[in-house]
């Protein structure tokens, strides 16, 4: 029997990886009204840039990660100023296909530079410490209470929660953040009232790319493997989190990321459902929630 507490904890850790990517994806949708299919590749770029700066250049890991996030921010700005700026009026489908193109280009570039072979940071191993290890009997059933925790998983959860708090403060306490919320609510009206919507769009790309890169680094740190499809492989879960939370709302993305990640882990508790059906169960949860709340948990609200 597996421990439910452990599953919840694992879900929390995975949710912290997903929340980083989901917030950016949702911001981009809220401001630009398009689904960014290049988001997965922004994760991958972050992971590989850190590999370059940490593994090849030899910088300390945290510094390498911070610098790669900076580089990813620059990449986000470049994508917006070089490409997306010409398509502010284009349809969502056009924008979606452009981002698919960007995704393919980025992934191919990664393959050219680093090949398809898996890589890793080679960071020291961290073994889980058992903080709980007992079994209690409740109404005739044995309930396993065990929990293994490591500095690594705690760090990942801390990064996720800190970043979510950071995004919240940015959106509520800074002028740019407030402008972003205004633009998301009504772009034309925001423009009329003097908000520089171009600046808002570019900033959104910068923030989204930076968060995605951070997510990629954390994902690679957590799984121990870096490969060209790594970002794309989690993109589906990220989209599910965003849709579940209410697409366009960063707060919805925060809730959605944790709900879907924990639901994914808990699926193994259902008798007869093997762990290979985790993703299906997560999506089932999403579909059921959308049946009752079609606009998602947060329904596109920004506060």
């Amino acid at each position: 029997m597996v421990s439910a507490i452990q599953l919840a904890y694992n879900g929390l850790a995975f949710g912290s990886v997903i929340v980083l990517a989901a917030m950016g994806l949702s911001l981009l949708y809220g401001i630009g009204n398009f689904a960014n299919f290049a988001h997965g590749e922004l994760l991958t770029v972050g992971a590989y840039l850190t590999l370059l700066l940490y593994g090849a250049v030899g910088l300390p890991f945290v510094l390498a990660a911070v610098l790669s996030i900076g580089l990813a921010v620059a990449l986000g700005v470049l994508i917006d100023r070089g490409l997306m700026v010409h398509h502010r009026q284009s349809s969502s489908l056009t924008l979606l296909l452009i981002t698919v193109g960007v995704a393919f280009i980025l992934r191919s570039l990664i393959r050219i530079v680093w090949s398809s072979s898996p890589r890793s940071y080679g960071l020291p191993l961290v073994v889980d410490q058992q903080v709980l290890d007992s079994t209690v009997t409740v109404a005739g059933y044995d309930v396993v209470l065990s929990l293994g925790v490591s500095g690594k998983s705690l760090a990942i959860i801390a990064v996720g929660i800190l970043a979510a708090t950071g995004v919240h403060l940015f959106l509520t306490r800074t002028k740019t953040g407030v402008a972003m919320r205004a633009t998301s609510a009504n772009r034309s009206l925001s423009k009329v009232t003097g908000i520089d919507t171009e600046y808002v769009a570019t900033t959104t790309w910068a923030v989204a790319a930076g968060l995605a890169a951070l997510s990629g680094v954390v994902l690679a740190y957590s799984s121990g493997v870096i490969y060209p499809r790594m970002g794309f492989d989690v993109l589906l879960v990220v989209f599910a989190a965003v849709v579940l939370g209410g697409i366009g709302s960063p707060y919805g993305a925060m809730v959605g990321a944790y709900v879907i990640s924990i639901a994914r882990e808990f699926s193994v508790l259902i008798p007869g459902v093997g762990s290979r059906y985790k993703l299906a169960v997560a999506f089932l949860v999403m579909i059921v929630v959308l049946l009752f709340k079609p606009e998602g948990i947060y329904g596109g609200k920004w506060s």
């Binding site: 121990g224 493997v225 492989d233 093997g274 762990s275």
Partner: protein
Amino acid sequence: MVSYNSGGETRRSYLGKAGGAALLTTGLAGCTGVIGGGESDLNTIGAAIPQTGNLSDFGGQFERQAGFALDIVNDAEERIEFSYEDTQTSENTGVTAAEKLVSQDGLPMVFAGLSSSVAIAIAESVAIPNETLMATGGTSSAITELEDDNWVFRTSPPSTLQAQALATMIADDGNSDVSIIYLNDDFGTAVKDELVASLDTLGVNVTDSVGYASGKSSYSSQLNQAASGDPDAIAFVTFPQGFIVMAKEAFEMGLKDQVAYYGIENIKGSDVRDNLDAQTISGMSGTQPSPPTERDSFQRFISENEERFDRTPSIWEAYYFDSAMVMGLTTVAADSYESAALRDNVYELSRPPGESYTYWQFDDAVETLANGDPINYQGVSGNVDINQNGDVVGTYRRWNFADGEFQTGDFVDVADDL
């Protein structure tokens, strides 16, 4: 399936050479046809292989080894030639290519398909309905299952047989309870099924077999499930990328000290070695298909290849060479160049009780056959004793991970019960 073999870069780099070899061989084949002219005993064997597409470099390897075998078979007397058609590594094109060889050219024997999917398509829609003898390079266990009335055979061992060697090893090491983590696709499931059946036969209890999908960043639930039955060992039917995540995670969960690890050949390689801390998999063992490296026939095959082609052949090339040699011997052994006569001879000449001959004893083997006595062809890739399923068993070696390296160990004697 060929495509599961690792080392994409090296395969690709031979592309150029492969193309050159293709031109050269077809050119030569054309010439001999013209020179031979008129009445001749020259028999044509059809070959539908990938000259373009994903497996094109394997096609080049086939042509290289077929050419080598041809020189031996035709040394004393012009006997056979190959007629090539390109499958483009695609089922549809492959079937068309094979149809041209079988239906239009009326050839009674073909070599077709280096990948299992193309091989099965050709076997089902061309070779079996047309009652044509077909050799193939595919390694899927689905080829064993074909209702082929003995029309299809191969000299490359089916990939699932590795599971028998792995099961033997796990049992011999004294494990009594084992769980399996396997990639949830055709290949992984087939290997898992064979492994479960073999372990069962050997009296080892399988506590759980857990499927996984590739591309996930965590496999903690699979690992938990695999560990839940308190097994002595976990067998990993996995590929490097997923395995790297699992091995690291299992170590962090503290599983490493509780169970022994076993794995299939795909795990062995620099991807796993370079991306995992050595202590996460130290002491792990596994199986890998291996040519009988200690035998004269294999060593001579390697050195002659290096001399002729200036490169070391892969294990696949040893299989292709054996295929071509068996087909050459079959044309000699059969009293007519017709499908049924060929089929009646191909199985017998590959296995006991006949006298054993290696490839350089080809002329002696021909003499024995001429005297009406049976022969037993000894291949370079192994004994090449083709059973009634059209399969050969193959040889397997143990690998161990120790001191941060994969080390090749002893040959595994697959248990007789399997």
